[in-house]
């Protein structure tokens, strides 16, 4: 339980640093703008940096109060905790990668094929056996969306049929 709590703190610490980096990046970029345009983003970047710097300071202040054994354990587990590669942590990242592949493939191989691959691979990730049994959903779902977007909303969707059989 103790380790779980310090994990959250460590991950929060990473987010504070990320926001600080974003703030510094924005502050530097504002020098390319006119004074009038740069004022608002510059103010915001200073504010977001101050908030996160305060939280980082607060984190180290409280960590100095924690006992040494806990600090050593935290340091040991720090990177391990951040890149905690358990199955449930990896799965959302895999879904994200599959989505990226879909966006990359979609204009090239058309909607039907890319959407089938997207739906089926997510189904496989959830449950392999069930996905194979119910593979027809991977065909039906994209077709339903094709109907909604192409016929209903008149969207310019690149079609596999047009790309490969034109």
């Amino acid at each position: 339980m103790k380790i779980k709590k310090s994990n959250t703190l460590d991950k929060n610490l990473l987010s504070y640093f990320v926001f600080c980096i974003i703030a510094i990046f924005i502050y530097i970029r504002t020098f390319d703008m006119t004074p009038s345009s740069s004022m608002f983003p510059r103010l915001l970047s200073i504010f977001i940096f101050s908030l996160n710097a305060f939280l980082i300071g607060q984190y180290f202040y409280y960590s100095s109060k924690r006992n040494e054994k806990e600090i050593i354990q935290n340091r040991k587990n720090y990177w391990k905790n951040i890149f905690n590669l358990k199955k449930y942590t990896v799965i959302p990242i895999l879904v994200f990668i599959i989505c990226c592949l879909f966006v990359f493939a979609y204009p090239r191989i058309g909607f039907e094929l890319s959407a089938f691959l997207l739906v089926f691979s997510i189904m496989l990730l959830i449950n392999r056996k069930e996905a194979i049994k119910k593979f027809y959903f991977a065909i039906l779902i994209p077709l339903l969306f094709l109907l909604i977007f192409k016929v209903g909303l008149n969207l310019a969707v690149p079609l596999t049929v047009e790309i490969f059989f034109k």
């Binding site: 103790k2 987010s15 703008m33 915001l44 977001i48 449930y88 069930e130 969207l155």
Partner: protein, 496 residues
Amino acid sequence: MFQPIVFIGMIFGVSWGMFMGALPGFGAAIGMALLIPFTYGIEPIIALPILAGVYTGAYYGGGITSIMIGVPGSSPAAATIMDGFPMTQKGQSQKALTTSLISSAFGGIFGGFALLLLAPKLVQIVLLFGPAEYFVLAVFGLTIIASLSGASIMKGLISGTFGLLLSTIGVDVITGDSRFTFGEIYLFDGIPLIPLVLALFAFPRCLIMMKDIFLKESLTLSLSDEKGRGASVTLKEMFKMWKTVVRSSIIGTIIGMIPGAGANIACWVGYGEAKRNSKHPEKFGTGIPEGVAAAEAANNSVAGGSMIPLLTLGIPGNSASAVMLGALMIQGLVPGLKLFETYSSITYTYMIAMIFSCFILLAIGWYTSRIFAKLATINFLILVPTIVMVVLMGSFSSRHYVFDIWVTLFLGIFCYWLTLLKYPMPPILLGVILGPISEKGLRRALMISKGDWTVFLTRPICIIMLILSVISVYYGLRISRSNIGKGMKKKEKLKI
């Protein structure tokens, strides 16, 4: 308003809302976020009643699963479990569902009338606003939603400021400078709102669902074993609870009007007050219809109440109304006096639709609540890829740019990470929406005052709003500290 297409839209909206509300983890905000890409091309006079239907339906839908499964579909339905689920276990599920339905509809109608009567009066305040007031109003809106929407006010403020930063992307309308566009023409108009809404609310939800599936190792929720359905609630029984229903509706409407508070608080306050005023408080929690009625009337009346500050000042009461604000902006409607003068037909249609959707809810819910309870047990194997498809194609549908899908994906994965770390998402959306208003207000006020910053401290409305902002930050800090305190106590107990 009285066109058949509007009613068909509302029927669809209510049904979609009930479905989304019944699905655990979804609710009104995500329900609306998923529907916005489809309503984008429709006229606002039809699109907004559809979204009003979603709003109303989702609050009731959350109660269906609370009663039938013992899992709240959405957090505003958490208090409904207290008596709703024990009623199902006692074989009185039909009575619990119908009590919940009638109370929800009454609460929704009450909130809708409050909106109709109060909003046109309150909007007159906007006449007193100059650039300085608009800037301070944005600060006030952000601080109040940041302080109340999460466990930590600091994270709320970071989220809000991050949203404001996102709003600066694009061409500056005053000087014509290109800011943070990195040469991408797709970013010249700023971050597109539909992909943003989907990235903030829907895409992280999909990823969290995937994570949950592996943690729970279950593909579906299961309906509890019922000892029969029992009879519906009678009018006589409902009439006995009128005081509870009216009290909860008033509580819900008032809490809804407080920005940042919302239905999560209202349902518990309504339930608590019903218990406190009851002649038999010991029966609460054992499965009595009064407990269901109190919680449901309170959470549904929030819908109307939260629309009052939204339509008049542009400050959303909760995450669902923050998404609604996004939907209004996408339709080109800016909250404030213009909404009640130039676009009065659309605005009043929307407000009346909030009331009519409750009658539609009553009709649909009476016959189909059980079907929605079964739909909530839909296999995740089908649900997750379907929602992922809606998110991806929904982002594409607004401007027909593949670039917008990339925006959803990258912002979505970042927001997923932030969600895991308990950063609230509504302040980000509010920041993006209020960003241009506050920036314009700040720059114009400083231009008028020739760079004098004391302009914000010399105008009465500014001073009042700044004081309220400080109070909300102080209040938020106290909540954060009490949360830390609770955590510390737990830790000490664990050590012992």
